[in-house]
């Protein structure tokens, strides 16, 4: 039995309806695929962005808030870590380095962060991609995708994002001297200046005795340290990492691994994703249900043809197989197209997310998306039996009258 030639004839006759059915299914499948692929890309992208931030120490409060402000450079303010705690952690010998991190200024919408050379080197993967590290208060290093070229001079502006006030620009002219390697994180568009410069323009002590001149980087002088939004710590060993986290989880500070906060967020996202996946599958099943009803209405026009085939000797099974195959082709083609369309949609959304957040997202079609589409195909193939059985059971004579 080979119902393909007959099914091809049905498709040729009702090609517009067939294409419309396929498009509906493709769109329904694409939404589900795009959603799951996007969620996975967001996970891996955010995890990659947090890779170089081993331990974050900040003032007590929301760790998620601090994570977004430090790792993802989202605009906003956080409570400052007390100067004495800052001094304590900057001097802690269990760390390879402890880098104070300040932020809040910007240039042309891109965040300006103040920190030490150690953190810049770490974020850049061990070495700069271009130019050299800042050697004075007025020098800056930019992220891989910053529009500022090496040698460019610029003014820092007060505030970042919605926090940006009307104070205007700082007076100091800064010069770009180096460019970091790409990280796939918001740091790719950031401008990094020495933390001392950031403190200086905000009329704060610079971390060093002013009598010693414009000293850059550690060691800092505890007597001249202001409070900081956060300190990024690279522990010497894994056990040091846990000891440091324990030591700075107190009434005066909090310490956390970015990964643990992200895991909590992923857990929440996972629950939402599960719910949305179920809703997507439900929607897809509904779409297929509506299409099955449409197919029944459409195929009523072919009743006489089915009866003719029976009169020519086709068994009932041939009619069942033809209609099932027709619907299965619609569902299969729609689902596979939906997989491709979903990937395109996920890429488009990723591009938008990357533009607004700086997090590089690479959505990929994996087993979960294939499984989602396979589930849709299975449901569709089962529902395809409804019109198939409907016409299978129809007495031949009804179509011949």
């Amino acid at each position: 039995m080979n119902p393909l030639p007959f099914v091809a004839a049905i498709i040729r006759k009702d090609w517009w309806a067939t294409v419309a059915f396929i498009l509906f299914i493709a769109l329904a499948a694409a939404l589900g695929v795009a959603m799951t692929a996007q969620e996975k890309a967001l996970r891996s992208g955010s995890a990659r962005a947090a890779d170089h931030f081993d331990l974050v120490v900040s003032a007590p409060g929301s760790q998620t808030d601090v994570l977004f402000k430090t790792v993802f450079l989202r605009p906003g303010t956080v409570e400052l870590l007390a100067p004495e705690v800052t001094a304590e952690i900057l001097a802690d010998n269990r760390a390879v380095f402890a880098a104070p991190l300040g932020f809040g200024d910007s240039h042309d919408g891109d965040a300006i962060a103040g920190t030490t050379r150690d953190l810049v080197t770490a974020i850049s993967g061990g070495a700069l991609a271009e130019g050299r590290m800042f050697e004075s208060y007025e020098e800056a290093v930019v992220g891989a995708h910053s529009p500022l070229a090496i040698g460019a001079a610029f003014h820092a502006e007060h505030g970042h994002g919605e926090e940006k006030g009307a104070e205007g620009e700082h007076g100091t002219i800064l010069k770009v001297v180096g460019r970091m390697a790409a990280t796939g994180s918001p740091w790719d568009r950031a401008i990094v200046v020495p933390i001392e410069q950031m403190w200086l323009v905000h009329n704060l002590p610079t971390g060093h005795n002013p009598l010693g001149g414009k000293i850059l980087g550690p060691p800092f002088d505890a007597g001249f340290l202001p409070g900081v939004p956060a300190v990024i710590v690279k522990p010497k060993t894994l056990s040091d990492a846990y000891r440091l986290r324990g030591a700075y989880r107190s009434e005066r500070s909090t310490a956390f691994f970015p990964a643990e906060v992200l895991l909590e967020l992923y857990g929440l996202m996972g629950d939402i994703r599960q719910l949305m996946s179920l809703m997507a599958l439900g929607t897809q099943a509904l779409v297929i249900g509506v299409i099955v009803a449409g197919v029944i209405a459409l195929l009523r026009v072919h009743r006489k043809q089915f009866a003719t085939l029976r009169a020519l000797g086709a068994p009932r099974g041939y009619i069942l197989a033809s209609i099932w195959l027709y619907v299965a082709i619609i569902v299969g083609t729609g689902s596979v197209s939906g997989l491709a369309l979903g990937w395109v949609m996920a890429k488009a959304v990723s591009s938008l997310v990357a533009t607004s957040t700086g997090i590089a997202l690479s959505p990929v079609i994996g087993w979960s998306e294939v499984a989602l589409v396979a589930g849709l195909v299975v449901v569709g193939c089962l529902l395809a039996l409804v019109p198939a059985i409907r016409f299978y059971r129809e007495p031949i004579i009804n179509g011949l009258r």
Binding site: M1, N2, P3, L4, P5, F6, A8, A9, I10, R12, K13, K304, Q305, A307, T308, L309, R310, A311, L312, G313, A314, P315, R316, Y318, I396, I397, L400
Partner: protein, 222 residues
Amino acid sequence: MLKLSGVSVTFQDAMGKPFKALEVAHVGFEPGCIIAVSGPSGSGKSTLLHVIAGLLPPANGDVIWQEKSVSRLPETQRDRWRRKTIGYLFQDFQLIPELTPLGNVALPGTFGRNRIPKDRAALLLTQFGVPQSRSSTAVLSRGEQQRVAFARALYFDPPVILADEPTASLDQANAEVVIDHLMTLASQGKTVITASHDAALMAKAKHHVRLDRGLVHAGMAT
């Protein structure tokens, strides 16, 4: 030989009231000739052909082929019997315009496993003088469409041909060609049963079965 014995078919009218659409005490159909089924519209001519083809199981009685009741066969076997035994010609041809002439003739070959040579459809089309190069049967003349329908009906080389008003929608020249084809088939030993109002076709029939409101008034003796 094909026979009908004690066959009756009951339908319901628009009000749901049952009425006898066909009642046949005994009719036999001799092979090797044309048997014409005649009667006014609604007299049961098409119903008789449907019953013979096993498309409409009778409420009572039997359709007998080679001394075996076809009516009592399970549906799957009846389908197989129909495929091997009956060639059906429809008044409006019932071709599939989305298929080529060759695709239409070869379509019965896709119904199940069979031993029909692959070039059977092409040979039949050549025999009936229909060009194979056409992309669709919709572009063929009505006469050519009827010839494609003929070729399709003969795909399995069935011994019985049922033709429902085969000349009704054709002009005289094409109708004469169809009558010639039916005569040829009859001369090959096939049982050709045709429901028709066409006087020219009726004149070629060796036997006549007249129907009036489902009742067979004259049947051929067997």
